[in-house]
């Protein structure tokens, strides 16, 4: 029943269904109701990782190395755990920079280098070709097997002529046609293909279901569950070695290297990059994919060993290729529908891979390899063509056909010598070469363009020498002596025992040497050189993408240049079509709040926007060149850099000045505050003074009034009493007068309005006069007075009465406070260099340190005025000090408690005899003289 027409019809029906899904997906996307915008479709689309390698090849691999097929799926599972850091970063970088492929990513990271983009493209294309050959081989083999239903016949070794005589070539061309129809129907600025992703997700579902169906059939229909298969296999075939890793270190080395390879592959295979990064709708979908995708891998691998062992039991003696067990087991059991389902599942796996991979590669070939070259060829005058979108599509379609032809050629030349998995691993090793440049590039700012270039080139060359060329040699297209004797017979250069390294399988061997060269060059060259400004800017954008959420979004970069809006729009129109360009610019203008792009002007933001739109169509590096062709970008010259530095240093200087000024202000504020405090203090003192004066005046007034009332009310008071009261009244009146005089006196002196009668006087005479005046008082109190007065003294210029006032005050104070009985006062006069000094010493109780300044203030006396009866007005010393100060001398006290006190004052000596002249004080004194009425 499975005749050729049925199979072909079923295949085409299946592909037709895929088209229906894809166009439905695209239609929904145009309406803005995406069907792929959920994490489940995203995770399923990631399963494009599972190709016919997984579908057919794993079983074949398991038949020879048991559990050894698993690292290819364990690696991605482990890697998924790191996606949270690594993949998220790559996705965000790519979205922000409109990255369209892995070549674009690397080129963009290292300063938008076209050379680097080209190199990555070449490596990717050459590296992936064997992988595509693998799919062709799987489809072509399974097709010829299923055609022979119900017999199980292995396809003959390749004897067909190249190209037209070969079925595989037609399959390759059919796949190319599918891909072109799927992927390059139109040119999208973001290079996203929603319909394609929907179809791929559907294919992932189909291949999973088909494989599980075959697995269940084999395990539970043909045999009696897992245990049954394993124990029967253990009896029939020698499976013990397959189920143990054991053995030498080689097993574990190979296990480890396959894990590493697959970890790199899941990130950096062009198709994985396409579905994971470029086609990603929302980065939050990555969340669920972290565990959904490994779950898919687990599910599709669960039945690999049972199918493999079932096949080994069912077809003993290696008559049937283990790579075909998934198909041949249902056929041999006569289950036509399951066989057809398995064939469709395998077809799903292969077509999904081929379509996505070739689309990704064709984008790279077009954007990063051909366009930069074509645009540079002045003879083609491409930059003057009005609409280049047709050319772009043409190049991509050509690239798709070319890649499939190359895949076909590899299959034809080298495909027969290897099992499916071995072919695929060659590609994995090639793709792993991207890992240092990308991982280093997103986590380390120090990686430079030259380093990435040399690392990639070195790794690629080692890969080609140790893995690709040997695959040709094993197929007979290169002399086999190349493997056994090395190049030119140099044994050290044997490609699979390079420098004599033995004991590793060829993949591990290649991985070791290529990574040594790749990582070594990348790190070494990075550390030896310095990144350029462009590279540095891109490195910062990439490495810090998670740290500065909005920095890049606004295109913050140094850009100085001029462009016209029309030029930019025309340029963009040539690549993505004039209408779309116009719409895009209008949308941009609206988002910036302008009516039209023209009103906005071609500033840095618009240029950046145009460049990023263009990057979606032709890649970052080419977009840079194209935009540069219409924008006259002025490079930052030395002068401008110096200007920037000048500005910066000026700003710095200003800020220093500001700092200085603010510090000065602070000081001034501080001074003002203390001045204010002082003023408040003075104000308080003035209030105190007034209240004290009032208080002092009231005491004598009260007694005068009291005694006057007594006299008034008692006219018959006897004379003795009357006289006594009158005497008190007179005494108090005198005290009152004295107090008022003193207050007036002090006020006059303080305000500078006092009258001074300055003349040349003899200080000794003044002292003697004062002593004579108080001598009666001293005698009454029994105080002994001693004088030490020199005979010859120079004259001084002073007011005699005032000096007398000071002396009397000091003497009466001394008399008041000296001991009784046995009081003793000493008056000394001495000549110093420019002064005459007078000391008045008593032997009283002395004055405490704290009171020594207070006593010179108004109304203040030593000791507690509340408990002790005040003696004197408290103005005497204050007036004395004012007087002495006026004459240019000093008045102070020296005393210790219990040892008496010495009041001293100095008066300057009048050198060169008396000087009469209009001194300020004298003028001041005359100024208040009698005024004319």
């Amino acid at each position: 029943m499975l005749t050729a027409p049925v199979i072909v019809l079923a295949s085409f029906a299946y592909v037709g269904l895929l088209f229906a899904i894809a166009s439905y997906g695209d239609r929904r996307a145009d309406q803005g109701r995406s069907i792929i915008a959920n994490p489940y479709i995203y995770a399923l689309s990631l399963a494009v990782y599972c190709t016919s390698w997984t579908f057919y090849g794993s079983v074949g691999r398991a038949a020879t190395s048991g559990i050894g097929f698993l690292p290819i799926y364990l690696g991605p599972t482990l890697m998924a755990a790191l996606w949270w850091y690594v993949m998220l970063k790559i996705i965000r970088i790519s979205k922000r920079n409109r990255i369209t492929s892995i070549a674009d990513f690397i080129a963009s990271r290292y300063g938008k280098s076209q050379m680097l983009g080209g190199l990555v493209t070449i490596i990717a294309v050459v590296g992936i070709v064997p992988y595509i050959a693998l799919q062709l081989k799987a489809i072509s083999n399974t097709f010829s097997i299923v055609l022979r239903y119900p017999d199980v016949v292995m396809p003959a070794k390749h004897g067909a002529p190249l190209f037209l005589g070969d079925n595989t070539f037609y399959i390759a061309m059919l796949l190319a046609a599918f891909t072109i129809l799927f992927g390059t129907r139109h040119l999208d600025a973001t290079e996203r293909h929603e319909g394609l992703v929907a179809a791929v997700a559907f294919e992932s579902l189909v291949k999973l279901l088909a494989f599980i169906a075959v697995g269940l059939f084999v395990t539970f229909w043909m045999y009696d569950g897992f245990g049954d298969i394993f124990s029967r296999a253990a009896e029939a075939v020698d499976t013990s070695a397959m189920l143990m890793l054991g053995g030498g270190t080689g097993d574990y080395a190979s296990w480890g290297s396959l894990t590493l390879l697959s970890m790199a592959a899941i990130m950096f295979l062009p198709r994985q990059f396409q579905v994971t990064v470029v086609e990603n709708v929302d980065e939050r979908h990555l969340n669920k994919a972290i565990w959904l995708f490994p779950l898919y891998l687990l599910a599709i691998n669960l039945f690999v060993l049972p199918i493999s062992f079932g096949g080994l039991l069912h077809f003993p003696g290696a008559a049937v290729d283990a790579d075909t067990f998934v198909l041949t087991l249902p056929i041999s059991e006569g289950n036509a529908w399951l066989a057809l389902f398995a064939f469709i599942g395998g077809l799903s796996a292969a077509t999904g891979m081929v379509i996505v991979e070739t689309i990704a590669l064709s984008t790279m070939v077009c954007n990063d390899l051909l366009m930069p070259v074509l645009l540079r060829m002045k003879a083609l005058r491409l930059t003057e063509r009005r609409d280049l979108s047709g050319l772009l599509l043409g190049i991509r379609r050509g690239a798709i056909v070319l890649i499939l032809v190359m895949g076909y050629l590899y299959f034809y030349l080298a495909g027969e010598a290897y099992a499916l998995v071995s072919i695929g691993l060659i590609s994995f090793a090639a793709v792993a070469q991207f890992a240092p440049a990308i991982i280093g590039g997103i986590f380390w700012k120090g990686g430079t363009r030259n380093a990435a270039m040399s690392g990639l080139a070195a790794g690629f060359m080692v890969w080609a020498y140790t893995l690709l060329l040997p695959s040709f040699a094993k197929s007979g297209w290169l002399p086999i002596t190349f493997l056994s004797e090395g190049v030119l017979g140099v044994e050290l250069l044997r490609p699979q025992q390079l420098f004599g390294l033995q004991g590793l399988d060829d993949i591990t061997h290649c991985l070791f040497w290529s990574m040594l060269a790749n990582i070594g060059c990348y790190i070494g060259v990075s550390l030896l050189g310095r990144p350029s400004a462009d590279e540095h800017r891109q490195a910062t954008l990439f490495v810090d993408v998670l740290r500065h959420p909005s920095a890049a979004a606004h295109g913050s970069r140094f850009w100085r240049g001029s462009a016209s809006v029309e030029d930019l729009q025309r340029l963009l129109g040539r690549f993505i079509g004039p209408e779309r360009a116009r719409d895009a610019f209008a949308a941009f203008a609206r988002s910036r709040g302008a009516d039209s792009p023209a009103a906005l002007g071609a500033d840095a933001a618009l240029v950046h926007y145009a460049e990023s739109l263009l990057a979606g169509a032709i890649g970052n590096a080419s977009a840079r060149v194209m935009v540069a062709s219409v924008v006259e970008e002025e490079p930052l010259g030395l002068d401008e850099v110096m200007n920037i530095i000048d500005e910066a240093s000026q700003v710095l200087a200003y800020s220093r000045q500001l700092e200085l000024k603010s510090r000065e202000l602070e000081t001034a504020t501080e001074e003002l505050r203390s001045a204010n405090q002082r003023l408040q203090e003075l104000d308080r003192l003035k209030d105190d003074f007034i209240s004290t004066v009032t208080h002092e005046l009231r005491t004598p007034l009260t007694s005068i009034r009291a005694f006057s009332e007594i006299l008034n009310d008692n006219p018959r008071l006897d004379d003795a009493q009357r006289n006594k009261f009158l005497a008190i009244i007179i005494k108090e009146s005198e005290r009152l007068t004295r107090l008022i005089n003193q207050v007036l006196d002090l006020a006059k002196i303080e305000s500078g309005n006092a009258e001074w009668h300055t003349s040349e006087i003899d200080l000794r005479e003044v002292i003697e006069d004062s002593i004579a005046e108080v001598s009666q008082l001293l005698k009454d109190q029994g105080i002994h007075l001693e004088t030490r007065l020199p005979l010859e003294l120079p004259a001084i210029l002073a007011d005699r009465d005032r000096l007398l006032q000071v002396m009397l005050n000091l003497l009466s104070n001394a008399a008041k406070f000296c001991d009784r009985p046995g009081g003793r006062i000493t008056v000394g006069l001495a000549r110093q260099r420019h002064y005459l000094r007078v000391d008045v010493t008593d032997n009283g109780a002395g004055i405490g340190e704290a009171d020594q300044e207070i006593i010179f203030e108004k109304f203040r006396q030593a000791g507690d005025t509340l408990t002790q009866k005040p003696r004197g007005s408290g103005l005497g010393l204050a007036i004395s000090r004012q007087i002495i100060n006026h004459f240019g001398g000093r008045l102070w006290v020296k005393s210790r408690r219990g040892e008496g006190s010495t009041f001293s004052f100095t008066v300057p000596i009048q050198h060169g005899g008396p000087v009469w002249g209009p001194t300020a004080d004298w003028v001041a004194g005359t100024a208040v003289g009698p005024r004319a009425p």
């Binding site: 790191l82 949270w84 245990g227 890793l245």
Partner: protein, 66 residues
């Protein structure tokens, strides 16, 4: 927007755990000829560890940030 957080650190820890469980010498420990319900121990070990890893990853990712 996904932010690197405690989740990321837990996932890295899981990665390291997986690296340990899927490698020599633990694999060697289970590489013997023993069987569990007729199924080779190594097969059971690898698939159960794999399933465990996925469950743990799912728990870490789906757990609401507290």
């Amino acid at each position: 927007m996904i932010r690197p957080s405690i989740k990321g650190q837990r996932l890295v820890a899981l990665f390291l755990l997986g690296l340990l469980l899927f490698n020599y010498p633990l694999l060697d420990l289970f590489g013997g000829p023993g069987r569990l319900f007729g199924i080779p121990v190594l097969y059971v070990y690898v698939f159960s560890v794999w399933a465990l890893m996925i469950v743990l990853m799912a728990i870490v990712v789906e757990k609401r940030d507290d």
